[in-house]
């Protein structure tokens, strides 16, 4: 009897390990995560518009239909990236995601406090390699450090009414992400 109980106890402990391991490994194994879905339409280091979600078709679930969206799928293996988007009349935000879809930084038009959101994206190693001269460390240069070499920059512009869609698209069309 005690023997069976011990085996069951062992099995339960093992079940806990299996459960935790699968939860932790799943994000690395997922083949249909947001990054994989975006990769199907987005070339590397270029801003591409994402089609607005419709009941029939959407590239990702739970997209907000009130927004126009563009995405830059970045790869920093050849060097840092320069990103810029002008600010229009509408709410605009820029969100950064790692290769495994973790949001690590987001900024909106008001937080940027200028007419344009302009920043440099690089890995921690590339940042450490920056020469320490004053021009580069000037406060007006915003540097974002990516925890992974690849990832996504998602630019979103609000079209609060259907009539504002062209204005929102115009903001996104001027967004740029390119190697330095």
């Amino acid at each position: 009897m005690i023997r069976v109980a011990l085996w069951l106890l062992g099995a339960l402990l093992l079940a806990g390990i299996v459960h935790l391991a699968t939860v932790l490994v799943l994000p690395r194994m997922a083949s249909q995560d947001a990054y994989a879905r975006v990769s199907a339409i987005a070339p590397v280091n270029a801003v591409v518009p994402v089609p607005s979600p419709t009941p029939e078709k959407a590239i990702m679930p739970f997209m907000d239909p009130a927004f126009e969206v563009s995405i830059c799928r970045y790869d920093l293996s050849r060097g840092p990236l320069k990103f810029s988007v002008p600010i229009g009349q509408t709410y605009t935000s820029v969100s950064f995601y790692t290769r495994s879809d973790v949001a690590y930084y987001a900024i909106n038009d008001r937080a940027a406090g200028r007419r344009v959101i302009e920043l440099d994206l690089m890995t921690a190693a590339q940042r450490a390699d920056l020469p320490e001269n004053e021009e580069i460390t000037a406060a007006d240069r915003l540097i974002v450090t990516s925890p992974t070499i690849t990832g996504l920059i998602v630019i979103r512009a609000l079209a609060a009414e259907p009539g504002f869609v062209p204005a929102a698209r115009g903001v996104l069309a001027a967004a740029q992400c390119r190697p330095q």
Binding site: A34, A36, S95, N108
Partner: protein, 192 residues
């Protein structure tokens, strides 16, 4: 022989319980660290690098991108205030005010996160589109048939959920109660 039998049995039991636990947690369960106000629950932490492992696994499975915390926060409602699941064949009244935010959007999805087709081609409202009462509050009729005022069509689907997204808002991880963040009430009316 008994040792071998015991080991095999233990392994099978472990795999079965462990894997079904994972499956249940990712499909039925909801991640930890949520902020629940009325029928609404949000996970502000999911938009930060501090996202918990369960939420990461759920996000990887569904393929969505969580809204970044510097952008906004999303609140999900799957039931009305009485705890009844939202049914697209019933009329539901959404009324009240929203927390402080520069903008908000309200969107209706099916349980898989797809928009729902309907004759009015309306999937949601933004704070700018809504018709408000004199005191600034609003009423939205969510239901299968057209209604005067703010009508959010359900397309007659059996199950749906509502997502209220607040953009550029002080609501976040520090928010705990409905007094800081008043959410609209969800009341079930007649079913057809």
């Amino acid at each position: 022989m008994r040792l071998l039998f015991g080991m095999v049995l233990a392994l099978v039991v472990a795999a079965a319980i462990g894997l079904s636990g994972t499956w249940l947690a990712l499909t039925q369960g909801t991640a930890y660290g949520g902020v629940t106000i009325g029928a609404w629950t949000g996970w502000p932490k999911n938009g930060t690098p501090g996202i918990d492992p369960y939420a990461r696994a759920i996000v990887a499975r569904t393929g969505e991108l969580p809204i970044g915390s510097g952008d906004g926060v999303a609140f999900y409602a799957r039931t009305d205030d009485a705890g009844q699941p939202l049914d697209g064949r019933c009329n539901v009244l959404l009324s009240g005010v929203t927390p402080q935010a520069r903008f908000w959007t309200l969107t209706l999805y099916d349980p898989e996160g797809r928009l729902v087709a309907n004759s009015a081609q309306r999937q949601g409202f933004t704070s700018q589109e809504i018709i408000r009462n004199a005191d600034g509050s609003f009423d939205i009729n969510v239901g299968p048939r057209a209604r005067p005022g703010n009508w959010l069509p359900t397309g007659g689907v059996e199950k749906y959920l509502l997502v209220l997204r607040l953009y550029d808002t002080p609501v976040g991880m520090a928010t705990r109660t409905g007094r800081e963040a008043p959410m609209p009430a969800i009341t079930k009316r007649a079913c057809s």
